[in-house]
Symmetry: D2
Amino acid sequence: MVNIAVCGATGYTGYEIIKILLRHPKADIRVLTAKLDKPTKISDEFPDLKGKIDLICEELVISSILKKKVDVIFLALPHRVSMEYAAKFIDKGKIVIDLSADFRLKDVKVYEKYYGQKHIYKDYIKSSVYGLPELYKDSIKRTRFVANPGCYPTGSILALAPLLADNKAAGDTIIIDAKSGATGAGRKAALGLIFGEVAENLKAYKVGVHQHAPEIEQELSKIAGKKVDMLFTPHLVPIRRGILTTAYVALKKKSDLSSLIRLYKSFYKTAPFVKIYDEGLLPQVHDVANTNYCCIGIALSSDKKRAIIVSAIDNLLKGASGQAVQNMNIACGFPETMGLE
Amino acid sequence: MVNIAVCGATGYTGYEIIKILLRHPKADIRVLTAKLDKPTKISDEFPDLKGKIDLICEELVISSILKKKVDVIFLALPHRVSMEYAAKFIDKGKIVIDLSADFRLKDVKVYEKYYGQKHIYKDYIKSSVYGLPELYKDSIKRTRFVANPGCYPTGSILALAPLLADNKAAGDTIIIDAKSGATGAGRKAALGLIFGEVAENLKAYKVGVHQHAPEIEQELSKIAGKKVDMLFTPHLVPIRRGILTTAYVALKKKSDLSSLIRLYKSFYKTAPFVKIYDEGLLPQVHDVANTNYCCIGIALSSDKKRAIIVSAIDNLLKGASGQAVQNMNIACGFPETMGLE
Amino acid sequence: MVNIAVCGATGYTGYEIIKILLRHPKADIRVLTAKLDKPTKISDEFPDLKGKIDLICEELVISSILKKKVDVIFLALPHRVSMEYAAKFIDKGKIVIDLSADFRLKDVKVYEKYYGQKHIYKDYIKSSVYGLPELYKDSIKRTRFVANPGCYPTGSILALAPLLADNKAAGDTIIIDAKSGATGAGRKAALGLIFGEVAENLKAYKVGVHQHAPEIEQELSKIAGKKVDMLFTPHLVPIRRGILTTAYVALKKKSDLSSLIRLYKSFYKTAPFVKIYDEGLLPQVHDVANTNYCCIGIALSSDKKRAIIVSAIDNLLKGASGQAVQNMNIACGFPETMGLE
Amino acid sequence: MVNIAVCGATGYTGYEIIKILLRHPKADIRVLTAKLDKPTKISDEFPDLKGKIDLICEELVISSILKKKVDVIFLALPHRVSMEYAAKFIDKGKIVIDLSADFRLKDVKVYEKYYGQKHIYKDYIKSSVYGLPELYKDSIKRTRFVANPGCYPTGSILALAPLLADNKAAGDTIIIDAKSGATGAGRKAALGLIFGEVAENLKAYKVGVHQHAPEIEQELSKIAGKKVDMLFTPHLVPIRRGILTTAYVALKKKSDLSSLIRLYKSFYKTAPFVKIYDEGLLPQVHDVANTNYCCIGIALSSDKKRAIIVSAIDNLLKGASGQAVQNMNIACGFPETMGLE
């Protein structure tokens, strides 16, 4: 059994981590923290937790968490807030799964440009592992510090990794057109997120400046072994949870669909949460909602020189909290799927 | 032509008033006000207005509005903020259509209990007219000061008025179960209104304490000529606009449906925006969305001793801004339906 | 271990039964049936089942199911279709959980009036048990034949049972205003169910003639020990899953809220899937979505002579498939909550 | 005044045509047709039309329409059904606005491949004009036969025409990623369209085989004066109405945003229903819902070698019925915007 703290328990990702861990046979939630006007039971914030967990959400104070003999700390905190706590818990030898973006980008300048703030714990960046188990399972096994990927990057990178790793893409710009549900923006009061503004609406946003673009580019380039040219356009759609990513890749040479599908199946053959669809099938958000799966389907243009790859994930699970627990499982030596099926 | 100011132009009701007045042959919008960080064009806030109206939303300053030779002022302001402006514009001889609740309740104590604040312009309450044209058209014709009804009260009162005016209801508690879309709560950043909390959810709220309950009770009692016992329960449903009200009334004696429908048709025969449905038909929100209509259908229990009355309105139009323009039309001597068809 | 057949596997309730049973440690799904143009893998119909269950949906042929050594049969079939299969499987000594309405109504004439067809297996009605475990757990333990309750009746009866069993209600008509998501109507192509007709809409439907009304009346009357006068009005709201029921009851005498809540908590103290909310809290659909819980909250009118009771369920789980598995658990001697937490 | 028949009055596009024409000062609707079990008043099918138009939907019989002295016929019929009626009304000298795809594709072989049926009125194809007024206003003025564009093509072509007409695009494949609301599929009972399947879901569909792809390709190639290589991927999103199109174009040479915007504004300077957004702004579906506008915004990749063009339309208005009336206005010599503002 591991003892666990969830910091940022009243956001959507904190809440999902709690729900997963309540089903997890090796996890014991000892501490919840949240920024609230007064100490509040988590089950008052989320009534469906009543009778299952009645911990009070405390203020986040490092010393009082340390007193509770916690082994693993999930940081479901806003970007920029997370870095200090991550660093200090790492110093104390804890396992930290950081759901913020604070340690995902290896280039501090890029971080500072996209997140608009100095990074004051740069030295810790190197020691963290980018927590995409399908690519870095071995490193995650050996680390105490996981930088959990962003939701868009998870869907985009998994869709493209096999093609790039196998050097199948021509040099042309890869187009990634991603569509996300509204919980991707977090559980916070913002005019742009209210029902009246989101329902019956569609929009592209942060075109060219979304903070997940450099994260995707960094990881795709690492996989390809060279700088990958790509264009990432996020869209907001009126669903609660889910991301559908449609990626367009010019191929080095004409391909046939069955060999591409074989390539993908082979690439992910040890990945319990990735499903590659057979010819003619593409994933939908319904296929993955409320699961930790990433489903991927492939189509080809009629001239067979362009691949259209569609991936679907639940942004709160494989795109955040499910993946975080998957990382914990790997880091703690538990079966990778524990609590997640 | 009348010159018009819309105060609170960037809320949902202000925005709807603007859209109606742009189609109105007798209205000239001269001033828009809004509480914003800096002066902003209304067409930057609502891009669909681009090319149609490009006024800048100013701060609300009484003297500068008066300079612009405005005849009619729509106050689409929060409760408690509205009262001062209403009073001062009335003093200057302007026609004021107040969409807030500040002058709807005739009993100041009730106002202060439900809205949680002292009423500092009590003397003006008497001079205002409750702006439900189907009941008070003659008074509206003669007034300069309209207290525009709430959205729930509009749907509830119109559903029940004919029965109560004709003394058909037994003494039992009238049950009003109302379901509203999310724009009813206004265009504001609030956690309870974000898409992730509202979509795929249903809830009753403010049961027994909703501020529209005393407004409904006041008006129903006036119609009935005696205190009416009623229970009002509002629900939030994941639609953008629309209220469906289901009212349950015990009848003094067994009735037949066709005579009840006749009663309703007769009661509303001069009301251009009320439609009474024939036997077997009940209104839906789709029947009234984006219109100023209130549609009403009636059913009977099998023992014919209880009526179930269903009304549908668009909460932003007949429930707010459409009704406000209808009131302006009447107060200014224009055709009642001008700009609203 | 019990061997299981799910008949009607491609409807919403069949699909949910499958998903629950895949998590159930004592269940082994042996047969799936569906009415399809050609034999189809269930995982082609619902891609999220891929890798978890790949059975082919067969035509429903009693003899071939019997060959597969099935112990329990879930009938997720349309009303009127179910009765023959139920009867024949019962004759063969199988445990039958019938999700249709064919054996819920004890009075055949009422059944024939509301479902528009002769009941040709009347003799079996008596042998079936109405499968609401909170009321009939002991009978369910001893039966092989469960008539699984309707979704609306589950929400309505659980909301009202404690009050009626304790004889707290005055004689007045009980008003039940229920709001259901669209999956309540099943997974079928119908114009009234398409997104364009349901989204941004609200309606009351089948007022006074809904087939669940006599089911609710039958059960409430049984609980009260006398005929209960009630009015049931269903509404369709644009959510996928969930029913919120608001019930209005005149009380025999003034009550205080805390004693009513105590009454409810006591009534349901052995019911693992009913949660009674504390004073001031009412359930929402989000509290129960994707769970087998029924959450209930109570409010009082200001004169304390009327109770407003709000219940929330997931119509596909506690309102159908979850309850069906709960009944199987009880009938088979498994822990009541197995597979359902 | 022109006398009008709307054939296919009970579909979404027929219904929208009726609503527009009721506001149109020069249109008199004389005939409605629909395929129904029995003659039905249009106001029984759409209760919001009650009191505004109470015509009965007849069976579509050419001779009886001719008797009613109709000048203009809107064919809002399914593909393949429309062609015969179009041809016969043209033969009788009527003005025909055909909303089906039957005469949009100039190459019969392409039509037959994508629509799966022989074209038996080939000779009429040449005589029809592709009804995109922003490109072909002069031809529309002189024709009696308009092939009204598809919804996706309208959004895609308007987004790309200025770039291609000005020869700005490099040869690379143009990527068109389009997202449509559910009414785009028409008002028909289909399992894939029901609320339970569409809500909370996202999917790409008909990838590489959508029938609008050749229509887009035909028109873009005509504008560019050479075969345009493009990839069109439609997606279904849970909104009722609206299409957001995101198009990705490699540019011949680095561009600056302001000159591209100038190019677009100049190209559309005589188009009353196209709005080009200023730098930094992109259109949303809310900007165009319930209007006949197409709003277009442009962004550039950081290397300024790729343009991202976003267009928004209401699929039922600018994408179908609004455009149809716009075409009627032009063909009849009325002001282009009549009835549409």
